[in-house]
């Protein structure tokens, strides 16, 4: 075997091992992510983007009841309030989902850290104190976008965001 053939063999072997390791780690994190936890090991990613089509969907929302002591009538979900920036940042939506998952899992420390991050990074400039309820929402995406209707809204916790 010539030197270049040996080099080529080594090259293909290294590439194949690297690709296999990448796909394996990404696959394991994807399987673990199905439990609701954020397990992505940056910068390895499963590239699971838009694969699951939202049908009857469940997510968590923050329904704001009071801003700086003033009750909202009727209460509104955080993303609908013009008080905060529009369009609503997707990172805020994702933080709320993780907050919901942490709460349901009983991970109060993580839930508290996420609530603190939400307030400091996204809401602090707009209000001093935001009283809200964490709501589990079930809806069909097309029905909701066309009519605003939810299949069900289930409050699961009441809390405050403040400095």
């Amino acid at each position: 075997m010539t030197e270049s053939q040996r080099y080529l063999q080594r090259y293909w072997m290294i590439l194949a091992i690297a690709a296999f390791l990448y796909v394996t780690v990404a696959g394991v994190t994807l399987l673990r992510a199905r439990t609701g936890a954020n397990t992505e090991i940056f910068p390895i990613f499963s590239w699971d983007l838009f694969s699951v089509v939202p049908n009857e969907t469940m997510d968590y929302g923050l329904r704001v009841l009071e801003v700086d002591g003033k009750p909202l009538e009727p209460p509104q979900f955080l993303e609908q309030l013009t008080l905060f920036s529009r369009p609503f940042r997707i990172s805020v939506h994702m933080a709320i989902q993780e907050l919901g998952v942490a709460h349901v899992r009983g991970d109060t420390e993580r839930a508290r850290a996420l609530a603190h991050m939400l307030y400091e990074n996204h809401l602090g400039g707009a209000a001093r104190r935001v009283r809200f309820e964490l709501v589990e929402r079930r809806f069909d995406v097309l029905t909701r976008v066309r009519s605003g209707r939810f299949a069900s809204l289930t409050p699961i916790d009441l809390a405050e965001l403040h400095p």
């Binding site: 090259y11 499963s46 699971d48 089509v53 369009p87 990172s91």
Partner: protein
Amino acid sequence: MTQAFGLSRLWRWLRPPMASSALTGSAHARAAQRAWSIVHAVYAYNVYIGVTLLKNWQRWADGPVLDPLWPVSWVTATGSAAAGILVGTAYLGTSLLALFRPERRGARALCAVSALMAFALHNSFGKINHTYHGLLWVLIIFVFLPQPDGQTHHARRRFRQQTLRIFWAGQAALLMFYSMSGALKLYASINQMAKGQAGFLSAEAAARHVAHRLLQTNGESLLGWLMLEHPWIGLPTQWLTIYLELLAFLIAFRPASHRLWALGLIGMHLGIGLFMDIWFIHQITIVALMLACSPFVREDAHALDGLRTLPGFAWLSSPGRQRRARDLERPQAVAVKE
């Protein structure tokens, strides 16, 4: 004078890259030369991103609360303001260094490490975005590009061939990511449709994705309304997306299709931006650089050559033309004769 201060050594290090280019002559030499031009362009683009990150220094200075990823776990000690400015400066500095001396492995390695930290810090606020991932992996793979190790005929040829192989690995990694995404879409689609739900291959899938995204952000997109009013227009784009993504990795082995596939992937990202308001700007740029400017496409290639080697389009061409199109400068066909 300059010698006294060690400046001559510094000057040699910062000399314009590839000044003593070994790349002359054959088509492979020209391909390797084109590959190095693209390597330059990738580092120039990193300089642009570095400047953009530094321009937003106020974001770090405001002291946002972090949820640090592992490459920047140390920021809890320094705070986001110091870390942001430190990482941003390091990333810009090493990108400049790699831009001026891309053939130095040390410069490329420093740039990859600082990019890893800069992108990790950018994603340390509760959500990981994926627009930088493709670029970052290309930077990591570029660390393995060869360094010129002599002026003999054999050394120059080996240098060119190693360049092309590592460059090809960068292209293959990008295309593999798309194939992973396509495979998961196909799997999830079959799974959902078996349960009687709308899957990615169903008529309403694109409209449902658009609706979901716009509900999450309470935002608007340029053409989202069109998809929501006429969901059926999404169907051909969904099938085309599956085709482009799932078979992307095969295209790594079909250089004649690199440009056409790049056009398809860029079109797909533009569609996502127009309908869903999700803009993979950096991914579009790295696809444009690595695939649309692919050094493996023959200089005299006809536009139809790319079409003829697309999976499923072989019937467009006679067997002789297919062979010619397939044989367009395959990276693995480049071999050193001892």
